[in-house]
Amino acid sequence: MIQLAGKRLVQMALIMLTVSLLLFLAFEADKYSLAGKVLGAYSTQDQRLLWLEENGYNAPFVQRYFTWIINAARGDFGESVQFATPVSKLLKDHLLNTAVLGGLVFTITVSIALVLGVLSGIAEGSTRDRGITVLAVITTSVPEFASATILVAIFVFWLDILPGTSPFSNGLTWSDANQLVLPVMVLVIYNFGYYTRMTRASMAEVMTSQYVRTAILKGLPYKRVIMRHALRNALIAPFTVMILQLNYLLSGVIVTEVFFSYKGFGKLLYEAALFGDIFVIEACAMVAVFIAVFSQFVSDIGYTLLNPRIRFS
């Protein structure tokens, strides 16, 4: 167990290192163009050279990379060109907002998906199952920016009961909570379908397994068969996949934030990308990858804990 965790942590570190190297190569290998990006298109050649000299960019590549990575590990990603503030501070504020949105979405999505998935997997092939499956296919076919459009049309322009953007100009306050409704809805609608189908598949498989048959033919009450024999085994796989999917959820969150002008991590990254704010992009990418890798770690450990076949071997 500890051994597995250790192994995974090493893998995590390796991936993070590789990612950082790739990012560094992509953005900072060509230091002249970097200087151009930082100082703006209208800076002179001399200004750029001076900037490079001042910021230690004339050191060998490897040394630069290590300085950068060590600073990054300490949370120092440099200063945003666009906002002229330390990247770390920007990140902190935006990440918090994203965590609120993401956490809300994840909780709601998982709850809906588990209930619907189990209901549909228990009775594979029934009308209920088909209904839920089709619903899930339809909702996963509508990408976030499309469903956002449709929902805005309905709730903002037609019914006029919700705000069409979520800037939270006064910070995250309860009074503005209605600004969260549409982003959350958009993300839940797009994501619950996949989660549901996964839960359904797992549940349906377990329901046709021989040990569930054994349990039924042992004369156990139906409730016990489902609750004790089927559910636990059926939920192992979806649980781990759902956590792995945090990665994809994050993608959706970015789009949704952009659509609704929600001041989160995604919006920060997107605007940095449009602006060419290199240090912010680097930091955001590192953070995003860290979240993904860490969720993978959690999912692996969780799987091991949930599955006695692996736990005891």
Partner: protein, 845 residues
Amino acid sequence: MAKPDMSTPVLECNNVSISYYTRAGEIPAVVDFNMKVMPGEAVGIVGESGCGKSTVALAIMQYMGKNGDIVGGEIKFMGRDMRTMSEEELRDIRGSRISMVYQEPMASLNPSMLIKEQLNEVLIYHEGISEEEASKRSIEMLDAVRLPDPQRVMDSFPHQISGGQQQRVVIAMALLSKPQLLLLDEPTTALDVTVEAGVVELIKDISKQFGTSMIYISHNLGLILETCDKIAVMYSGEAVEFGSVSQVFDEMRHPYTRGLFNSIPLPGADRYSRPLVPIRGQLPLPHERPTGCNFGPRCDHFKDGVCNVEALHMQDVSAHLGHQVRCERYLNIDWEAAKPKAVAGEAISYGKTILQVKNMQKYYEVHDRSLKALISGKASRFVKANEKLDFEAREAETVAIVGESGCGKSTFAKVMLGLETATGGEVILNGQEIGQITVHKRTPQMVGSMQMIFQNPFETLNPSHTVGSQIGRVLRMFGVAKNKEEALEKTYKLLDLVKLPRDFAMRRPRQLSGGQKQRVGIARAFAGEAQVVVADEPVSALDVSVQAAVTGLLTDIQRERRTTMLFISHDLSVVRYLADRVVVMYLGQIMEQGDTDDIYSPPYHPYTEALLSAVPIADTSITKKHIVLEGELPSPMNPPSGCPFQTRCPRKIGAVCEDELPAVKDLGGGHKIMCHLSEEELRAMEPVIAMPSDKKKKAAAAANPGRAKAALAAASIAAIPGVDTPPVPRAKTAAKIELTVKKAPPKKAAAKKPAAKKATAKKPATGKTGPERLKKPRGKADDLKQISGVGPKLEQTLNGLGFWHFNQIAKWRKSDIAIVDDELSFKGRIERDDWVKQAKALARK
């Protein structure tokens, strides 16, 4: 629970029909099925896969899944039709009064629940007792199914115990609530032979111990013989024959049953004394069954206008009480003539030595990445998959390599074929060392000269390509065919060779049956000028009636082409039919090798002896020594010290077996045994399988026609000095010599004499008065088996006790019954009152 009335059957199936509903429409999986199971009785259902055995079992449990339905008839449990029961009532019955044991023990246990919970819940829900009490009962039951250390098993997850133990747990689970009826659906098919033997032994005792009626489903006639009193033979969704075991085994009246017996190999016979006769054709699919008799298209006795007119019904066989068949013409068939005849053996002249394996070793390195291993510096260990293999094979010879799973058979095949290289030693093919040359470095001609036939017919051919293109590719690869036309021409020739129509070249594998695919596999192996063909269990996945045909074809081709064949198998009965020499392996090492006849007769290696005794034999005339090995197969990752077999060997001498690897003893004629037992001790062994070939026994059998087995048993007792004629209880048990299998604890082992045998003959309770007993009547004895509940085994026991006639039993009084009950060492199993009633009825006739 109140004792049920002993004269009502526990289960009665009347005209049951079961269908599955699929996209293609209704599939009648089982039609017009009848069966009666009396209290304490064990009924077998035998048939090839897909004939509807499992469907019957699930129908009895009233569990037909989503797309199945019982469409007709009634299934009465203790007199009540289960089809009219509510879901609630069914739940009460399931698991408590009828329970079931399944084929795949691992799959039928919940992987994420402790065994403790899975056992206890049966009692908690059916009997409403407390957790502690349930645990207590569960432990007792685990003990009763002879699981060592029940407490540990209780606290384990299913994957933490071995397959044999899992199956015992499943059986314990089924027995917990003392059911009246136990259904066993192929309970040992997934197990290794020696492990199977132990489980079968247990099943046999269940009814004695618990008085449970059983329905035992199997495709293996030998297992049915060992466990059951009555048997139903199923073919293509119908029961075609039903009767007592002796009726069906010795006096069968259905051509399919006859065919089945003719096509299965018996370890007591070889290809000359009793050649295999396959049943031609193949099982019809459920929706393609012919009118009239389903077996018609494959039956040698088919008569137009009689057999194909209308659906047949079960009819009573005249003069056989309780024996039924579904055949219109059974009276017109000469049943003696239908038995296979011995043929004269052709002498095979073996050629020069083609293959030499000298001290071949194959180790796999496994990396242990655990912290402990890293610290102790043992991060990599070696699995000795093959250790010092040493044997030869000559031209036109078939060498069988026999052993249970994990013994290194497949690894050996891989080295031969160049998929792996040997770690040490030599493999010499035609004077050239090939053990170190991978297949990619071999010349096409070398590759073609060593080919393989695979086990699983469903995987042996690539589903994406036609049969023709796959054979053609091989021909081109080996340089046998230069161009397309030539390849096609040769493909046709090969199809002819394996007796398949030429247009099969155009077909895709999924359009072929299992046997046909296997034939294509054979054709492919012989496509090059194969000198050595390695056949890895080529027929074990096929249905019995097809096995014979494929085996026959394979040996015919091999003989004709004078190819050397290495035949890998776990089945000693098949091996006897086709091997010239046998190599017995255990945990990567050769335990014994020699000519086939040497292997099947003493001296044996103790492992071979156990293996032979574990083979179920579908022949009532054969007596077999019973050796049940203790424990499980050790893992090759962690083999025992000294002799590999020492952890399970019933003849273990003592410390020397644990400490030293035995030397190989040459007993002459190439017969080699690796064991510490001295040559004298080895030579003193008795045959495991005794056939009624002995003159005396034959005479005895003749004196009692039709009862060969009983007579044989009696005769062999007579041969044991000190036990004389008057009533000997449990005659048959006495005839088979039981070896003590319990190993003594290692320290004491040294003191123990190796061949500790004891005959378990009990002295009869002669002192008591009681029922009238007779010596063996000179004339014909009555057929006691006509009393329902008396099977062949019981009959012998009764004979042994001195009961030979119905009128003896008809005269029993209550006190007599009590005395007999005492003498029949299994109580509660049979309702003796009912015997008296039936005996009276029979005596009146």
